[in-house]
Amino acid sequence: MPQRIPVVEKILSANDRLALENQSRLDAARVFAINMMASPGAGKTSLIERTIKGLEGRLRLGMINGDIATSFDADRAQAAGATAIQINTGGDCHLDAVMVQSALSQLDLGALDLVVIENVGNLVCPADFKLGTHKSVLVASIPEGDDKPYKYPGMYRGVNAVVINKIDLLPYVPFRMDFFKKGIEVLNPGVTQIEVSCRTGEGLPGWLTWLEGQVKEFKKIHGK
């Protein structure tokens, strides 16, 4: 007899479950993790280099870099002084919780305070796949154009902070900051927005203060 069975299950629930496991593992090791997402070329790796240098001697940082191919980004992070694990997704447009699980096993979590996961450059797919990180950060950049929140709402909806990079280019490209920020505000009311230039260093102290504050708060909750 034909029959309809109610299911009502989130389509990526298997990934969500594994993401929770990743998070428990990070919690137990008292390591704070962020998922850094952006379009290709927004400046994720430049921001990470600046972050590694800026937190040197204050926080012990590990990196997980996701890319379809090459280890250029992990090499850059390593050159800047962090432990870096490269994940080559072999064509996948995003990282998922399974990939992060295996990368976490390769890191000595006991020797770290913070893990930054650099997702594959893409404004669509990474938004749907939880990794188990505690916070998500989107790196946007001026040359991408001011319409991106309107075109990629899913990405702007799910993040805890938006870093607006390459503000040194504002005098040279048409970019309506108020229009851009209005889109972000509707999608994600009250989200932290930090304007920076990884080239000139402008605004970076604000980013580092935010990040350090997040780690401190996390450590407070998860005790000594």
Binding site: M1, P2, Q3, R4, I5, P6, V7, V8, E9, K10, I11, L12, S13, A14, N15, D92, C93, H94, D96, N122, V124, C125, A127, D128, F129, P149, Y150, P153, G154, R157, K182, G183, E185, V186, L187, P189
Partner: protein
Amino acid sequence: MHELAVTESLLEIALRHAQAQKSRRITGLYLVLGQWSSIVDDSVQFYWDIISDGTIAKGATLHFRRVPVVLTCQDCGKEYQPASEDFACPQCGGTNAKVKTGEEFHLEAIDVDE
């Protein structure tokens, strides 16, 4: 772009629920997708035909229900569908909105043959 992973997950959920009922065959799947849940129907269908082959879900029909985006203005209470060029409230101009619908991303039900 990530429809293969989505489709694999879909098959896993459907098979698990059908097996729990000891069903012999899955004949239909009912998906609910919000307009903001970047999934391409044709692409899911394409992968489905390939990966469901050889399972009890082979040949099952995929039913897609699209849910439009509706925002609720937190300032004046107006419910509206955002325009593509401006997400602000058409009534009061406010940008303090909550997403009411449009982010759905789940499998609602399956049809099975006992």
